[in-house]
């Protein structure tokens, strides 16, 4: 009897309606652990190269891990993997909430979705049973309505609903998969893939919690976490949400403003986490926001999620759609020069209601704003909307138009890179994309290892794929666990910083496979360090896993993602950064004049490939590296000599 997992993967063929259950061996779970590694395993094994991301041949893998649903903070995570309609390569995105744990209780560790249903359907899974049901009455409806309808229809308030909103149905290329109406597999357009399959929702309900091998050890770790949380460096994320970091970013000149034109936003205090807490969190008017304005994921002690309620004024917000994260206050806020917090919360609501990634959506609008300011996009394009920096009303309107693919919103729904290609006129000069994915709100200008990771990450610019630069210096005890003992001066992008980026990337990659939250577990500031991640994995599974073994899972997953891209012909030439980062020095604040150096960056990327054991010319994984990771079959798949 396995501990922590069910031993069952559900395969769904939407074209034929066939549902089958696979029961992989223990060694499969130990080798891939779950999440992203498990998902890309099925994509490499069962999907040919060159498929249309929005066609029936794409595979959408929804994967838990061996730890999901067990009683420790940070484990209720699910990874969605498919070929991305945004990047054209691998797509990969994690969500939290209660859906992941409930899916585990319902009897499955993964759902592998193929084909395309003739008509809209939803997948109903309850206690090991699965069936496809008609979703014609749900199609076109927003997430909150669909949740309510399904709860009523199924007569069970405890169901968890994972779904696409109207944006996913309409193929918005950065559409998200939403659960709880406020949690997202946000990045890389996984919602568009799910929508293209006519799969409106996956609904789960289960009563079988996974067994844990060593309950006492896991309880001890949970107790330690609860005790140390108040004094930990994530305590502020709990109380004030991720937007607590806004002030620190501003101080450092690392708050991306006006589409990465500047690293400082003079009105940052209007949109930071403490202002949100004081003004628009649910219950703030009675001083009860700690009780009503904060939400959590299954089993998590941190409670970092926001619940915003605005009952009056031009931007009323329904609390069921949650509240904005730091990334969201940044993309709709400082990226766009908008300091109207209710407007930002409204844009967040629209994204959760219609199912869109707040990072790509806000950043795409910010790009369009800069092009408008530069007179490359005009009111002729926008249908009369003055898409200027600081115009909160235009920002909210454009968010809605993208969700509905109306007017100019239809152009922006393709993502900024495709929009630039369509519009032309030099608008590509202002893009802030890597592999067509818009850059999140951390600046490589001031945290230089981001310049490497944004470029080489297989699914485009991502801020949660390694540990950022300052942690090397500030957390020596935890860095030492990873063999990192030599922090470098500020702004260094030398071999040691590349090594730091790669090693921490492997740990983060492991965490996206074992599917744990990167605020709870990690290599530096998180509640638990790497040694405690090992203890948790041991306690749950009963396996005598080591940090080395987990790091190998991470490296294995990363190589598989790169291999997926290689099979699509995507290699080094796609590992780019926005031209703007090299050509346009930042303006104002502490980072005034900061710009990246192309030669230094190229050398760092070369060093990174070499350290990874990849082909420096192509950026592809090599057979020796894949075989060293125990996945020689991937080299066969790529036809590597």
């Amino acid at each position: 009897m396995p501990h922590g997992y069910n031993g069952k993967i559900l395969h769904v063929n939407l074209t034929t309606g066939e549902l089958t259950i696979e029961e992989p061996e223990e060694k499969f779970y130990r080798k891939y652990m779950g999440g992203s590694a498990m998902g890309v395993y099925y994509l490499l094994k069962e999907m040919p190269a060159g498929v249309d991301p929005l066609g029936p041949d794409n595979i959408l893998a929804l994967c838990l891990s061996v730890m999901t649903g067990t009683p420790i903070s940070g484990q209720s995570r699910m990874t969605a993997v498919a070929k991305s309609p945004l990047t054209g390569g691998i797509g990969d995105s994690q969500c939290g909430g209660f859906f992941p744990a409930e899916m585990k209780f319902a009897g499955f560790d993964g759902i592998i979705v193929k084909g395309r249903a003739e008509k809209p359907v939803y997948l109903w899974i309850h206690d090991g049973r699965a069936e496809l049901r008609d979703a014609g009455h749900l199609w076109g409806r927003v997430t909150g309505e669909v949740e309510a309808t399904l709860r009523e229809e199924l007569g069970d308030d405890k169901i968890e609903v994972l779904q696409v909103g109207p944006a996913g149905e309409k193929g918005v290329r950065f559409a998200a998969i939403i659960n709880k109406s406020n949690r997202a597999n946000g990045r890389t357009g996984m919602g568009a893939v799910m929508g293209s399959k006519n799969l409106k929702a996956v609904v789960v309900r289960g009563t079988h919690k996974p067994t844990v091998a060593d309950k006492a050890a896991l309880s001890e770790l949970a107790r330690w976490g609860a005790t140390h949380f108040p004094e930990s460096d994530v305590a502020g994320l709990g109380k004030y949400g991720t937007a607590e970091t806004t002030g620190a970013q501003q101080r450092a000149g690392g708050l991306p403003t006006y589409n990465f034109t500047s690293g400082v936003f003079d009105r940052w205090e209007a949109i930071d986490g403490t202002t949100m807490y004081d003004t628009i969190l649910r219950g703030a008017d009675q001083g009860k926001q700690d009780r009503y304005g904060r939400d959590t994921c299954y089993g998590c002690t941190i409670r970092c999620k926001r619940v915003v309620e605005i009952k009056e004024g031009p931007y009323q917000v329904d609390p069921k759609y949650g509240g904005p994260e730091y990334e969201t206050t940044s993309t709709f806020g400082n990226y766009c020069g908008v300091s109207d917090l209710p407007a930002i919360a409204k844009a967040n609501e629209i994204c959760n209601k219609y199912g869109m990634d707040t990072i790509s959506c806000g950043a795409t609008i910010a790009w369009a704003m800069e092009c408008f300011e530069e007179e490359l996009i005009t009111v002729e394009d926008t249908g009369g909307i003055e898409l200027r920096y600081g115009n909160a009303e235009a920002m909210v309107k454009m968010t809605e138009m993208i969700a509905k693919r109306e007017g100019f919103g239809d152009v922006l729904a393709e993502g900024s890179a495709r929009a630039a290609a369509k519009i032309g006129r030099g608008t590509d000069e202002y893009l802030i994309t890597s592999k067509n994915q818009e850059t999140p709100a951390h600046m490589p200008h001031t945290k230089r290892t981001l310049a490497v990771i944004y470029a080489v990450n297989p699914f485009g610019a991502d801020h949660q794929s390694h540990e950022h630069d300052p942690s090397y210096r500030f957390y020596p005890e935890r860095m030492a666990q990873l063999g990192l003992h030599d922090p470098q001066p500020k702004l260094a992008l030398n071999a040691e910083m590349v090594r730091y980026a790669m090693i921490t990337q492997h740990l983060y990659s492991a965490m996206d496979s074992i599917n744990v939250c990167q605020f709870v577990f990690g290599s530096a500031w998180q509640l638990y360090g790497p040694d405690q991640l090992v203890k948790a994995a041991q306690a749950v599974t009963g396996w005598n896993v080591s940090l080395y073994e987990l790091m190998q899972v991470g490296e294995r997953r990363l190589n598989m993602l790169r291999a997926f891209n290689a099979r699509e012909g995507i290699g080094r030439e796609a590992d780019t950064l926005p031209k703007k980062f090299f050509d346009r020095p930042l303006k104002g604040g502490k980072t005034d004049g900061y710009v990246l150096d192309r030669d230094e960056w190229r050398r760092a990327v070369d060093t990174y490939y070499a350290m990874c054991g990849w082909d420096v010319e192509t950026g592809y994984p090599t057979r020796p590296k894949l075989e060293a990771l125990g996945i020689g079959w991937v080299a066969d798949e790529l036809g590597l000599a």
């Binding site: 502020g236 109380k239 620190a248 540990e467 300052p470 605020f519």
Partner: protein, 80 residues
């Protein structure tokens, strides 16, 4: 001497809620940043910044009228 202090994020919880993280502190002449942090009973890892953008270490001797901002270290979201 007196210095005005702005304590950001979770640090503001060490002051009464109505202060919103802002306070004025009286210190002996010659007091350092370390003395200020001890006076405020700040035990977390923090970064201290003066209003001119300078980020002094704990040995820095404060001056009357200094405006000091104090931030926690969060999520790789900081750089000095």
């Amino acid at each position: 001497m007196q210095v005005s202090v702005h304590m950001h994020g979770i640090l503001r919880d060490q002051l009464p809620p109505e202060a919103k993280g802002r306070t004025t502190v009286s210190l002996d002449d010659g007091a350092t940043v370390g003395d200020l942090l001890a006076h405020l009973d700040i035990k977390r890892r923090v970064i201290v910044a003066l209003n001119d953008g300078h980020e002094p270490d704990e040995t820095y001797v404060l001056k009357d009228g200094d405006e000091v901002s104090i931030y926690t270290i969060i999520g790789g979201g900081c750089e000095t």
